[in-house]
């Protein structure tokens, strides 16, 4: 199972992921993001842009996720908090980008 990430500098990485972990946990282990609140929807440090083609494969965001996206910056229509995306067969190979600075 893997995640394809485009970093803020435009380079891309493919990262091995374990089923059942959130995308945030995988990217945090890889040193790509902080995931400060550990998935408790109390920060927005795992804000990512999900590739459009993957967006409808994901469940719609919970209200708590939308609320925390309100304090993220550089929002795109495909913005998500990736602590809420759990790796499973449905999203193996998911493509996401790290928001680059404004």
């Amino acid at each position: 199972m893997q995640i394809n990430v485009t970093l803020a500098d435009g380079s891309t990485r493919t990262i091995a992921a374990q089923e059942g972990l959130s995308v945030m946990e995988v990217l945090r282990n890889a040193g790509i993001l902080d995931g400060e609140c550990n998935g408790s929807l109390a920060c927005a440090t795992c804000h990512v842009w999900v590739d459009e083609s993957w967006l409808d494969k994901l469940e719609t965001p919970l209200e708590g996720e939308e609320d925390m996206l309100d304090v993220a910056f550089n929002i795109a229509p495909t913005s998500r908090l990736c602590c809420q995306i759990i790796m499973g067969p449905g999203n193996d190979g998911i493509r996401i980008s790290m928001p680059h600075p404004l």
């Binding site: 109390a42 996206l69 309100d70 304090v71 910056f73 795109a76 600075p101």
Partner: protein
């Protein structure tokens, strides 16, 4: 103003508060510095009303109640609370005493320092707009302070929570105009207040928009550029921006302390919780070692570990007689807590 203690604790989160007790049990006097006006760290700032289920011996306890208990547990040791101050610098005198200086020019003299800094000093969650710092406190603000500062101004408020909505309604009374910019149509606020804001002819609501840039000279705004989510930007004339995006942690104030910081954490020796700088310890969320669990209960244990390790520095040559709290007891408090704020 100076304060003389044995141990200076940076951070009044649950771990810093328990460190007061852990140090107190070993006869060490403490001062606790926190940038926030209220103690409790994340528990107070982020989730006071949530129940916590994994505090050993407490089957369920609300975060604010845990903070109250930690304060009560610390109280007999009469810690010196220095709240509303950021711990900014740390120097060392020739005899090895640390001098921690706060943003409010308080100086804390201590033989050891415990960094219980969590995710860093809580401060405003600052939008990453180019050049924003030059505008801060002149025309860009993160809290209202005095209302009259916005009198007659073209004010732009960014954010979608209660505070954005409530302040839009309140400041519309004094400002020349108010524009509220938020990334979606839904606001996290009382429906009645949102309806009042939307109906108010003095308030222009721009959704779904976000901040993209500032325009002005010498810290004085002329306009703010806002972008439609996934669309084009436009320019809104503005004299002041109130950016209300909650809090965010910043380890920045600790950057020049001579303590090795790795991203958002401070590596320590798990046996002592000592950092790369002798006499300075890190405990709780900020401390990192292999196998570290970011839990309150881990932080409590680290506070005890660091207090034991600091003892030798605070009382050189004195043997650390090991005793349980059941044997030692606690002192009877003579005074109420000493809260000092900026």
């Amino acid at each position: 103003m100076t304060v003389n203690v044995d141990v200076a604790i940076v951070g009044a989160g649950p771990v810093g508060l328990f460190a007061v007790f852990a140090c107190g049990q070993l006869g060490m006097r403490t001062a606790v510095i926190d940038g926030l006006a209220d103690p409790g760290g994340q528990l107070t700032a982020l989730y006071p009303e949530k129940p916590i289920y994994d505090i050993p011996g407490r089957s369920k306890i609300r975060a604010d109640a845990l903070v109250d208990d930690l304060l009560a547990q610390a109280e007999p040791y009469e810690p010196n609370y220095i709240l509303g101050h950021h711990a900014q610098a740390c120097s060392e005198t020739s005899d090895g005493t640390f001098v921690v200086t706060t943003s409010g020019s308080r100086k804390v003299f201590a033989r050891a320092v415990l960094l219980a800094a969590g995710a860093g000093a809580f401060g405003p969650n600052r939008p990453p707009l180019e050049g924003i710092r030059a505008f801060e406190n002149k025309s860009v603000f993160y809290h209202v302070g005095r209302r009259d500062r916005f009198a007659g101004k073209r004010l732009l408020i960014a954010g979608g929570g209660d505070s954005a909505v409530d302040w839009a309604l309140s400041l519309a009374e004094v400002a020349q105009s108010v524009t509220v910019v938020h990334r979606r149509d839904t606001f996290r606020a009382l429906p009645a207040a949102v309806a009042a804001m939307q109906a108010d002819p003095r308030i222009q609501v721009e959704t779904p928009y976000q901040l993209v840039g500032l325009d002005g000279v010498d810290g004085h705004l002329r306009a703010v550029n806002i972008g439609r989510i996934g669309g084009n930007a436009k320019r809104i004339g503005a004299d002041a921006l109130l950016a209300l995006f909650g809090l965010s942690g910043d380890l920045g104030p600790l950057a020049d302390w001579g303590v090795h910081i790795d991203g958002k954490t401070i590596p320590v020796d798990a046996k002592t919780c000592e950092t790369s700088r002798s006499g300075i310890y890190a405990i709780g969320d900020v401390a990192r070692y292999p196998g570290k669990l970011n839990l309150i209960l881990t932080g409590f244990a680290e506070a005890a570990t660091a207090a034991n390790a600091a003892f030798a520095r605070v009382f050189p040559g004195k043997t650390l007689h090991s005793e349980y709290s059941t044997t030692r007891g606690v002192p009877v408090s003579t005074q109420n807590q000493h809260f000092q704020t900026a």
